[in-house]
């Protein structure tokens, strides 16, 4: 069974007919030729396929294309504009926050989404005041302060890096977070 969908990907509109079994990731990679998001596990377990879907970071391998007609999608290729790299992209290069580069577009898109979440006050599992932290949660609720090492590590743990550039990813993101 097939269906027609329209997406805006990195600022360009596309109309295409997809098999209803086609994931958003496969639609991007196999149908639209945008291979910035990567397939590492196809099960939402590694994060290599992370894109911004209507502004939020999602695993595009877990999204069916047919379910997102009309969506606005941003990949790492679309973060760079007019040949200028996004500050996170430059920071990843400076800090050598990758080796093979396969998880990297997903890491960077995920970091963009994560910084927005933190700015919006979303707590993580290690944010002070969380029940998991042993805090009361209480009337004050959790506090999202500066992005400490542990905050970045926790919030970025949905993106696996088998080369294990984590010790460089954390300071690269913090540098951009500090502005």
């Amino acid at each position: 069974m097939e269906a027609e969908v329209t997406f805006r990907v990195d600022g360009t509109s596309h109309r295409l007919t997809v098999d209803v079994r086609t994931t958003l990731l496969d639609a991007l990679r196999e149908r639209l030729g945008n291979t910035s998001a990567k397939k590492g596990c196809d099960h939402g377990q590694c994060g290599a396929c992370t894109v911004l879907l209507d502004g939020q970071r999602v695993n595009s391998c877990l999204a069916l294309a047919v379910a997102h007609d009309g969506a606005e999608i941003v990949t790492a290729a679309g973060l760079a504009s007019d040949g200028e790299l996004h500050p996170l992209q430059s920071a990843f290069i400076r800090h050598d926050a990758f080796q093979c580069g396969y998880c990297t577009p997903g890491q960077i898109v995920s970091a963009v989404g994560m910084l927005r979440e933190a700015e919006a006050g979303w707590p993580s599992a290690v944010t002070a005041g969380q029940p998991a932290d042993g805090g009361s949660g209480g009337s004050d609720g959790p506090t999202v302060g500066i992005l400490t090492d542990d905050e970045v590590r926790e919030r970025m743990s949905g993106n696996l890096c088998r080369c294990a550039a984590y010790a460089n990813i954390v300071p690269a993101i913090q540098e951009v977070a500090r502005g």
Binding site: C41, H43, Q45, Q99, P105, N159
Partner: protein, 702 residues
């Protein structure tokens, strides 16, 4: 052999492909644009050993969009003795997950669905997949491996270990084991294969385009010139992409059945667990005998591992032991058991990663038994020359690494008493272990340099960059070899259109390829001087050279060394284990690019943590397959698992290893980490874990 003067080497250059990688524009194998591709999906056996009694492909073939269903009945006959490559050649099944059929279809969705409709019936036989059933006493399947890395003897023996053990004042005699580890490079094994009148074009995720070319050419009875392999970027490999395996052959077979049409084949994450190799589990016995002063009188290390019945692959887990410590009585022995399992393969620091867990845990146990500091114990047993080869080391800075690491880590403040440090319910401990890896060079590389009259150099070699930073580091080597600036170098790699190259492996890339580039640069200079008055002619000049022999190999033992430190916290109530701090000091010769080398060492240390605490392929003994075959259940270290990591290195000037003075940094980062963490866990808790991984159930009472 002359050495080259470092100008570009030593500079912390950003990766040359960085801007492509951060945008996702660097093309990996499956991303090469092709017109009108077909898609391939395999069917895997559901028995571990047996015979196919029937295949019904009618339902699959009837699906709209299915182009072909391959089975052993209709697949092309192959010409290879490599059991792992003999895909669809008979009705025999040798391991669970072996490819027994495959569907080629118009889309990946159709191929995958149709593959699920292929019905295969089997006559299963009793299988044996359990290495632990092969321990002494049940040794019918054990034998000495036919081959390990040829530079090192399989087994070694000197003196009389048994007699020395009997008379030793202090003894350690323990069994250590390591599990079945799976590489899990983030990019699964992928291929785009196309068959035309000229032969095969393979866009492939591989560590060695030249080796794949040879393997595929042989299997299909072609001349290597009829197989072109292209691999500009590889999304991690770690050993799993060195040898050609069934997936490559199957993709090529499929391409043959739809001539002119590119066939795309990406293994699923789950499929990689049975089809792409793994680090074999080991059971190791280490015996150490020493005087009460800690001076070793005996070192004996034996290892039992597994291989498949299709093909032998043996890690050499005891390989490092004869290079480490002085003792008059020494022995190593290596055994493999042939089981009904997939064939294991190279995995980061094959041999050393497993073997040094056992040896360096045993050294910690000996230090405790002697009442000595574990660093002091190692210093007391430092050999003057290589204990087995009786050659001087080209350079050996193990003691420097241990001392420098101790200083930086704050080792002198350590109270050696176990369970002495507690903070808020956490027991805190620290541990140390030594690391080593040999300096290897792999045969079969050539490099071409084309100089043009404008001062630019094209450097061509079919090497690959699997993420190690080859593209950047080798450009720096070429610049220094040619006494030019990095900007003058145009390095091209990852394509069999260029001169052949050894695979990226064994931390030997820079040694093998760099030495060929240096040789070509030398010859270029000579030709320019003798025939062209020192000036590049208007139509340019081209030179091709092989990796030269190294005459010093017979005179010196060549190894990298390092010291690994770890701090662990173990929760008293839950047994949760955290590693807030790792520190490594390494002596790896010249560092070509401090930025990318540091990343390799960091990555290796994280791999060590991951193998210590997280990773284990769990086998279902009833069916013979890995049950936790995805990234949710086979946990590899995530960002939150890694704490503060410090990497340092000792300046080393070794003129004997190669013209660059490099020793390789890809493997040594993982070596010794598991022992350092296990030793730290003992220090924290008083519990000695000899079976990896160290999981919380092993630390909780009862």
């Amino acid at each position: 052999m002359s050495t080259i003067t470092p100008r570009a080497m030593g500079q912390a250059l950003d990766r040359l492909d960085g801007a492509d990688k951060v945008r996702g524009l660097a093309r990996y194998a499956f991303e090469h644009p092709v017109d009108h591709p077909a898609y391939l999906f395999p069917v895997q056996s559901t028995v571990a050993v047996g015979r196919i009694t029937g295949i019904d492909r009618s339902q699959a073939s009837a699906q709209p969009g299915v182009l072909a269903v391959l089975t052993y009945h209709n697949a092309p006959r192959l010409s290879t003795e490599d059991g792992e490559l003999r895909v669809l050649q008979s009705d025999e099944v040798a391991f669970r997950g072996q490819i027994v059929a495959a569907v080629i279809a118009e889309t990946s969705e159709i191929a995958r669905h149709a593959a699920s409709l292929v019905r295969v019936d089997y006559e299963g036989r009793t299988h044996n997949v359990d290495l632990r059933a092969e321990v002494p006493g049940h040794r019918e399947h054990l034998r000495v491996p036919n081959e390990v890395l040829p530079l090192f003897p399989m087994d070694t023996a000197e003196g009389d270990v048994d007699a020395a053990m009997a008379s030793a004042a202090v003894r350690v005699d323990e069994v250590y084991s390591t599990p079945w580890y799976t590489h899990n490079a983030l990019e699964p094994h992928t291929t785009i294969a196309c068959w035309t009148e000229e032969g095969f074009t393979l866009h492939l995720s591989t560590q060695g385009v030249t080796g794949i070319q040879a393997g595929v050419a042989q299997a299909f009875r072609l001349d290597p010139s009829q197989v072109r392999v292209i691999s500009p970027h590889v999304g991690g490999a770690f050993g799993s992409k060195v040898y050609p395996r069934a997936d490559v052959v199957l993709a090529a077979m499929a391409a043959r059945s739809v001539p002119g049409r590119p066939v795309k084949f990406a293994l699923t994450r789950q499929q990689t667990f049975s089809l792409t190799g793994y680090r074999p589990p080991t059971i190791q016995r280490v015996r150490l005998g020493a005087g009460s002063d800690g001076r070793l009188t005996a070192i004996d290390h034996r290892s039992i591992e597994q291989t498949s019945k299709l093909k032998e692959f043996a890690e050499h887990s005891t390989r490092a032991t004869p290079s480490m410590y002085a003792a008059p009585n020494r022995g190593t022995q290596q055994w493999v058991a042939e089981l009904d399992v997939p064939t294991p393969t190279i995995m980061r620091a094959p041999g050393e990663a497993s073997g040094m867990f056992a040896l360096e845990s045993a050294m910690d146990e000996l230090a405790i038994a002697c009442g000595l500091d574990p660093i002091e114990l190692r210093i007391r047993n430092e050999p003057d020359t290589h204990p087995h080869f009786h050659l001087p080391f080209s350079s050996r800075n193990l003691v420097t690494c241990l001392r420098e690491g101790a200083r930086r880590f704050g080792w002198e403040r350590r109270d050696p008493t176990p369970r002495a440090r507690r903070e808020g319910g956490w027991l805190i401990g620290t541990g140390v272990a030594a690391a080593t890896y040999p300096v290897l060079r792999l045969p079969g590389s050539k490099a071409t340099i084309r100089a043009d009259a404008n001062g630019r150099y094209a450097v061509l070699i079919a090497a690959v960059d699997i993420g190690t930073g080859t593209r950047t580091a080798l450009t720096q080597v070429a610049a220094d070899a040619l006494q030019a600036d990095v900007e003058q170098i145009d390095l091209r790699l990852g394509d069999t259109a260029y001169p052949p190259a050894a695979e990226e492996g064994a931390s030997a890339g820079i040694t093998s390829w760099g030495a060929a580039i240096c040789a070509a640069a030398d010859q270029l200079r000579q030709r320019l001087a003798t025939e062209h008055g020192g000036t590049v002619p208007a139509d340019g000049l081209e030179i091709t050279a092989d990796t030269p022999e190294n005459e010093y190999l017979k005179q010196y033992a060549m190894h990298s060394f390092g010291a690994q430190f770890a701090e662990v916290r173990v929760h008293e109530e839950t047994g949760e284990i955290r590693v807030p701090r790792q520190l490594g000091v390494f002596a790896c010769g010249r560092i070509v690019n401090p930025k990318t080398a540091r990343s390799q060492l960091l990555g290796g240390m994280a791999w060590g943590l991951s193998m210590s605490l997280h990773e284990q392929s769990v086998l279902d003994l009833r069916f013979g397959h890995v049950v936790n075959h995805d990234l949710a259940q086979y946990h590899i270290s995530s960002n939150a698992d890694i704490g503060a990591v410090e990497v340092h290195w000792i300046e080393e000037d070794d003129p004997y290893v190669n013209p660059m003075g490099t020793k390789g940094v890809g493997e040594i980062g993982i070596v010794g980490v598991a022992a350092a963490i296990a030793n730290a866990v003992y220090h924290a808790t008083g519990i000695r874990i000899r079976d990896l991984p160290i999981t919380l159930d092993k630390l909780l009472p009862g």
